[in-house]
Amino acid sequence: MKKQTIFLTAVLLTAAFFVSVSDTHAAYHLFDDKLRVKGSIYEFMIYRTNVKSYEKQYRDTKWGLMRTKGTLELLYKAVERNQYQLNIFGFFHWWHESVPDFDDEYNRAMASRNRKRYQGPFYDQDDWINELYLDFYAGKWNVRIGKQIVFWSEVEMVRTIDRINPLDLRYTTPGIDPWDEIKIGLWMMRGFYNSDLPGQLVFEWIWIPGDYEGVRTPREGTNWGSEPGPEGREDLRPRGFGQSAAVNEMWRRSQPAFSLSNSTFAFRIRGNSEVSFLGAYYLLDWTVSWYHGMNNTPVVDRDKLGEPFILNMDAGTVNGYLNNLAIRRLVGAEFARVPRGLWEYKFFDAVGASCQTYVPKLGAVVRGEFSYEIGLPENKANPDHIEDTASYMKQITGTTERDVINVGLTIDKPVKINWLSQRWGASGVLDCTLGWFGQWRMGNVSRIRRTFAYQDRSQTNFTLTVRSKFRNNELWPTLRVLYNTRNWGYTVLAVRYTPGKHLRYELGYMYFFAHDPYHFREANAEDNDSVYFRFGYEF
């Protein structure tokens, strides 16, 4: 409790600092405008409103997150000539997640090494560099070399073709933090050729010479992650490093080396075409893309799979290690060391397309995305004699591949509310975005191992985002809803307040619901209803 008081005091002092600083510019320009410096410092707090009784053994407080984050963005115009130009762009960030510092039970629910990686930018040694690249322009060519984040998507909240950078989902969900802070930068070469061909075609290619990062899912023991399991002896609870943490650690220890043979390639053509249909003009912004790279989660190495049998205790195999860990947790014994190289990261291909246009008849902008994933690596689960039900505890029996189709469609329609347009400095417009997202897994999907959506051939999501602005953009209320037809989803209601040049505040409430928590990771967060508050200073 004392630690909590200290941290809350620190937070209040930080807030007081933000309030007292004087107005300056939006960004600093130094060295005769050759260097631009901007950045931010934010505090992001999540307070749980629905902590269940079984969870209390892992929590002293209801704080789910208290993350202080600073960002620094540098843009240096190194060379400016008529024929060519060279810029250097860097986006650095640092953060500290404080809840494990003042909540002892929360602290103990994580293995110490995982906690260190979770609390700051320490998962990889270059985590503090979000982006750092040389940006070279010459005529129709543009080449960018360095750590970068790529955005290929048109739609919001759900990704279909936007797969170059993996996501870091340990702290928050898309829609709350900006994408460029959720995505993990990768070292790559990226080039553009701006042609004069009809359709204003832009050819884009990406080569990632072996820098691989997997998706960072919520860590076990943390606010968004599962509790460490199996629970084990009562006098040892909470005890970090359960099955989920073990799998994450195995994945980490199997991660591919920085090697040319692990290269990812991607290619995209972007165009802008005008078509006339039934007397109306449609200007289409379209893309087609191809991707060849490793999946962001691995499959098991068949040679190191081990017998899919509950009495297999061989800690040198995947099934054996997980069984071994479960037993050791139950009896309170010391854990075996996590072996390296039990999992394999495999390549797959994906083709995609996107299009957006304004449709006058609807008075709306329609965006669509499609991707076809070819040979997506999958694990197989549960031997035939075992009853096949959704659970975490599924013995792995081998690997396979499946094709997957993803489709997204959104309609952005500004809805005018006439009486609102002359009140409270409102824009009088509700920006409404209605989305539909579908996923179909091809072939036989029974006994294809997935923690969530096990045996589901298809997924259908609907999303709704409604935004507006009041007091000349000082107040930004936003409603976000995601509903999956298997009856799970979440709702976020938030208000952003931007009173002056630099200070920013956001208060929101997140409500999760799920018929079955095994349907998806977000469904698994059904008890994570929370209030969140974020405030910061941008310059």
């Binding site: 460029d180 204003q200 006058p360 902008v365 952005d412 500004p414 002359q422 009088g428 009173p499």
Partner: protein, 416 residues
């Protein structure tokens, strides 16, 4: 053959006759009116007008300006003042004068009130207009030197709380048709402009902090019935978003300005009906030195405007959409180059809601000519005590800007 030659001569003669009849530019004051003006100026030139002496020049102040001067607290100021300067006719470019004399004699509107030959002509189509719609086409014919680049720095001011947000945009604007000064004239060829673009702008935001590197591209077409296309690359989300046309009444960056308000009116002339209300002899900001403007923190309305008397054309404007954000607008158009000196917007209840004032000055443009462009502006909300004062640092007028800039790919490539 003789008949053909005779007809050709007749046509040429008639055309020359019309051209000779065209008076352009038409100064704001001539003859006796100019003499009387100079007499009045002898007493007033150089004087600062504030709440104490505003009543003495009330006849030459618009109601909105008078309200602001007499009640500075509405806009967060202790005092709001302006300076009276003598009237000076604009020096228009030879290109504008020649284009107007060449094309205006043939100007006419079709049954849908569209300007016949729009896109193939240039200059001011109706130098001596009779109707409101002709005045609106004159306003549309002002191409501001055919191209210009500028840096706009401003503030969004809540005059009650004195909170301010900074805005800064770097803007490139190009007219593809109606070009008077910069070759090609009067329009880009179809090869360069296959889509029939009339005007385009590209904008990069440098403030507020959350909008740094946001870029914006808008294309207006010469087909007056075709809606504009607007794309915004939001750096925060790193996405290029198409905007729907009904978002044009949304405010820009939280200022009091909507997309349609830019430069006075930034979309098709044919969206409105126009009713000529007469002339108004008013003090309006011309030949403005932006360095002379000033304001304190929390003040949404500029002090230090340099106003000269101008005999403006007044047009009442109503949007054809009955649900349009403004019930009506009053446009005050400058008689010399037909820019908008200021406009007043009324809400649907008929209350004076907003006022958008420009401070113009002449800038060097293509071929050692000069072109009037505004360098100071404020748009103020009388009902909410809110204002958006800004200045435009004009970098270049009448320069060659590559049409290739105005492509969607520029949105990402000119940003980070």
């Amino acid at each position: 053959m003789k008949k053909t030659v005779m007809m050709l001569f007749s046509v040429l003669f008639v055309s020359q006759g019309f051209a000779a009849d065209i008076r352009f530019p038409v100064p704001s004051y001539e003859g006796q009116a100019l003499v009387q003006l100079r007499q009045w100026e002898k007493n007033w030139t150089g004087k600062k007008i504030n709440a104490e002496n505003a009543d003495q020049v009330k006849d030459f102040l618009h109601e909105g300006v008078y309200t602001a001067i007499k009640n500075p607290e509405i806009f967060g100021a202790d005092t709001i003042w302006f300076e009276i300067v003598p009237y000076r006719p604009y020096k228009l470019s030879q290109g504008v004068i020649e284009s107007t004399r060449k094309y205006a004699p043939h100007s006419k509107l079709d049954e849908k009130r569209n300007l016949v030959g729009y896109g193939e002509v240039a200059g001011i189509p109706f130098p001596e207009p009779k109707t409101g719609i002709e005045m609106a086409w004159n306003f549309d014919g002002n191409t501001r030197g055919d191209s210009h680049t500028e840096i706009q720095t401003g503030s969004v001011v809540d005059c009650k709380t004195r909170f301010e947000r900074a805005t800064e945009q770097h803007r490139w604007e190009l007219y593809w048709i109606g070009r008077c000064d910069v070759p090609p004239r009067p329009a880009f060829s179809e090869k360069v402009n296959p889509r029939g673009i009339a005007r385009s702008f590209f904008q990069r935001h440098a403030a507020p902090a959350d909008f740094v590197d946001t870029t914006m591209l808008e294309i207006k077409y010469k087909d007056p019935h075709r809606m504009e296309d607007l794309w915004v690359y939001t750096a925060m989300f790193r996405r290029i978003r198409r905007y729907a046309n009904n978002q044009r009444t949304d405010s820009i960056d939280g200022t009091d300005m909507i997309y349609d308000d830019q430069d006075g009116w930034y979309t098709s002339v044919l969206h409105n009906t126009y009713d000529f209300k007469g002339r108004a002899d008013l003090l309006t900001a011309r030949h403005q030195d932006p360095e002379k403007t000033e304001r304190i923190k929390g003040q949404g309305y500029w002090s230090g405007l340099q106003r000269e008397r101008v005999n403006l054309w007044v047009v009442e404007v109503r949007n054809k959409d009955k649900n349009y954000i403004y019930g009506k607008q009053l446009w005050y158009l400058d008689p010399e180059d037909w820019h908008m000196a200021f406009k007043v917007m009324y809400n649907r209840q008929g209350q004076m809601w907003k006022m958008y004032e420009f401070g113009y000055n002449e800038f060097p443009s293509y071929g050692n000519q000069t072109t009037p462009i505004f360098n100071t502006e404020h748009i103020v909300d009388f009902l909410r005590s809110h204002g958006s004062p800004s200045k435009r640092g004009i970098q270049a007028v009448g320069v060659e800007i590559s049409p290739k800039l105005f492509r969607t790919k520029s949105l990402k490539q000119k940003s980070y």
